[in-house]
């Protein structure tokens, strides 16, 4: 329980450190969602597959570039905890990318 509380607090403090970027991304996502939601015949379901594909690609790219971006390298992956962390890092970027891609892809699958 405490670990979850601590994690949330660290996320919150990190968010404060990068506030303009966090707000910018959230606003962009909200605008994309609003744009898509207000258009008739948007293919939310069909948009899921390309959004997930974008998320997967971003996950792979993030997985490859994150060690270098954090002044480390793959040579420093000592044990499975390190690999697991790196994977979760990368997956978070992937999730953000998928969330941004979804309304765009959904708009492109309009049926009306």
């Amino acid at each position: 329980m405490y670990e979850i509380w601590l994690t949330l607090n660290i996320l919150f403090e990190l968010g404060l450190q990068y506030l303009p970027e966090v707000i910018g991304t959230a606003l962009l996502w909200a605008m994309l969602m609003l744009f898509a939601a207000t258009r008739p015949g948007v293919g939310w379901r069909q948009g899921l597959v390309p959004a997930i594909a974008v998320g997967a690609i971003v996950t792979v790219i993030s997985f490859l570039v994150t060690p270098g971006m954090t002044k480390s390298s793959f040579a420093n992956m000592g044990y499975w905890v390190d690999w697991m962390n790196l994977f979760f890092y990368a997956a978070a970027f992937g999730a953000v990318a998928a969330a941004l891609a979804w309304p765009i892809a959904a708009s492109m699958y309009r049926t009306a």
Binding site: T7, N9, L14, T70, A92
Partner: protein, 449 residues
């Protein structure tokens, strides 16, 4: 070059996109691996009209002020400290080894002071626990019902003959401890040393230290920087410890010595830095018998002896006998962190005369506990919380990798999560130090975790 005198550097002009990516990259690491220390269950605030004085507004002082202002209803809380700039000290080793820019470690204290707390911008000159009062350096007498001593410690460079803190950065002189400017200057000295290589002298005094891992981190990082510059072969690194070990936890001590043997870093035990001739780049070390020996160097890392600040040292508050008496460390019960002779006094952070625990991580675990114990005492109960001495230190071993070392009073290794291997070179431990510890520190300081 003390913490107090340094101006707050301007905000980092970092590349926004890169910053965001780096920041966001931390999120799943936490979600995936988690971190842990003591929890702080929510309680209804205790009604009281007590006046609580907190001496010191470092991490300990601010964390306890935040917690008490939430945990007590009607109390008057006074924080005494002249310091205007709050420095994130765990970042100093990153600055001093060229990993972080210096502007990442400083914040304005006024932005961190909890609402509703009275801040007296003076220093405590005198503690009078018999009369339940402190006297500030302007002569103002402030009476209290309860006192929390969180003054941190004093870096006693004066014990090293010839040492001049203002000269850090010049003539191969490095010392990570005094503040951000010294950390940055230490990096400049290390950076110019690594270009050519030569002899590095790394030191460790005999007193208790804040972040006792810092001298070890600096040593590992000198090696790494030399290797990166291609000058390791032309260099030698010697470590002189005033003790018969380099770290108080035997398993960590042995592990680091094993690694240093592999890295060709010879260690001389019972060899204390007593003097330095900065211009001539010569250091004098002495053994316990008092025999002195001069050593030439191209780069030296000076770690000062540490003790309690004068105001505490010259008061009735320190240990009167035993190993902590000489340094003037606060006489607290190691379990409750309550003063052993003055029951309305508690200690928090580096000032405590306890067997372990001069790290920010210690405050993370002990601040909630001290707050609760003080609330218990105000409510007329015995302290309910017991501290196990938790201390932690991500030990940088090279750029990109660290060991996440956690232990308690009994030298037991106490990883926050069972999957963490404290003796394993780790990217996860690196990320903790490089990106996640400052956010965690800020959450501690605000009294939330």
């Amino acid at each position: 070059m003390s913490d107090k005198s340094e101006a707050c550097p301007s905000a980092a002009p970092a590349n926004g996109r890169r910053r965001f990516l780096l920041g966001a990259s931390a999120l799943p690491a936490i979600a995936g691996a988690g971190l842990t220390l003591a929890g702080a269950p929510a309680h209804a605030a205790l009604k009281t009209s007590a006046h609580i004085v907190i001496a010191g507004s470092g991490l300990g002082g601010l964390a306890i002020a935040a917690r008490l202002s939430r945990g007590l209803d009607g109390a008057k809380i006074t924080v005494i400290d002249r310091k205007e700039i709050h420095n994130y000290q765990p970042g100093y080793t990153l600055v001093a080894t060229g990993i972080w820019p210096v502007d990442k470690v400083s914040d304005r204290n006024v932005d961190l002071m909890p609402a509703g707390v009275e801040w007296v911008r003076e220093m405590v000159a005198e503690f009078d626990p018999v009369a339940n009062a402190v006297v500030t350096d302007s002569g103002r007498r402030i009476e209290y019902d309860y006192l929390v001593v969180a003054t941190g410690l004093h870096l006693d460079y004066a014990q090293i003959e010839g040492m001049d803190v203002a000269a850090i950065g010049s003539n191969g002189l490095g010392s990570v401890y005094p503040g951000p400017a010294a950390a940055e200057a230490t990096w400049h000295a290390m950076d110019s040393f690594r270009r050519k290589g030569g002899s590095a002298l790394m030191t460790l005094p005999a007193t208790p230290l804040k972040c006792a891992g810092a001298p070890l981190k600096m040593t590992f990082m000198v090696v790494d920087r030399l290797k990166q510059a291609g000058t390791r072969g032309a260099s030698n690194i010697a470590f002189h410890s005033a003790l018969d070990n380099i770290f108080s936890v035997p398993r960590i001590n042995d592990e680091v010595l094993r690694r240093w043997a592999e890295l060709d870093i010879p260690v001389t035990f019972n060899s204390k830095l007593v003097a330095v001739d900065i211009g001539a780049r010569r250091a004098t070390v002495a053994n316990p018998e008092g025999e002195r020996r001069e050593i030439g160097y191209d780069f030296i890392h000076v770690v000062p002896p540490m003790r309690a600040p004068d105001a505490v040292m010259n008061s009735p508050l320190p240990w009167q006998q035993g190993g902590f008496a000489a340094g003037g460390w606060l006489e607290v019960d190691p379990g409750t962190l309550r003063h052993r002779r003055f029951p309305n006094v508690f200690g928090l952070g580096d000032i405590n005369g306890t067997g372990k625990g001069k790290t920010a991580a210690t405050i993370k675990k002990s601040a909630p506990l001290v707050a609760q114990n003080l609330i218990d005492v105000i409510a007329g109960r015995e302290p309910s919380q017991h501290f196990d001495g938790y201390t932690s230190c991500p030990l940088l071993i090279r750029e990109g990798s660290a060991l996440l070392v956690e232990f308690d009073y009994d030298n037991r290794l106490t990883p926050s999560l069972p999957m963490i291997d404290p003796l394993q070179d780790s990217y996860f431990a690196w990320i903790m130090k490089y990106r996640l510890l400052k956010p965690a520190y800020m959450a501690v300081l605000k009294g939330r975790v």
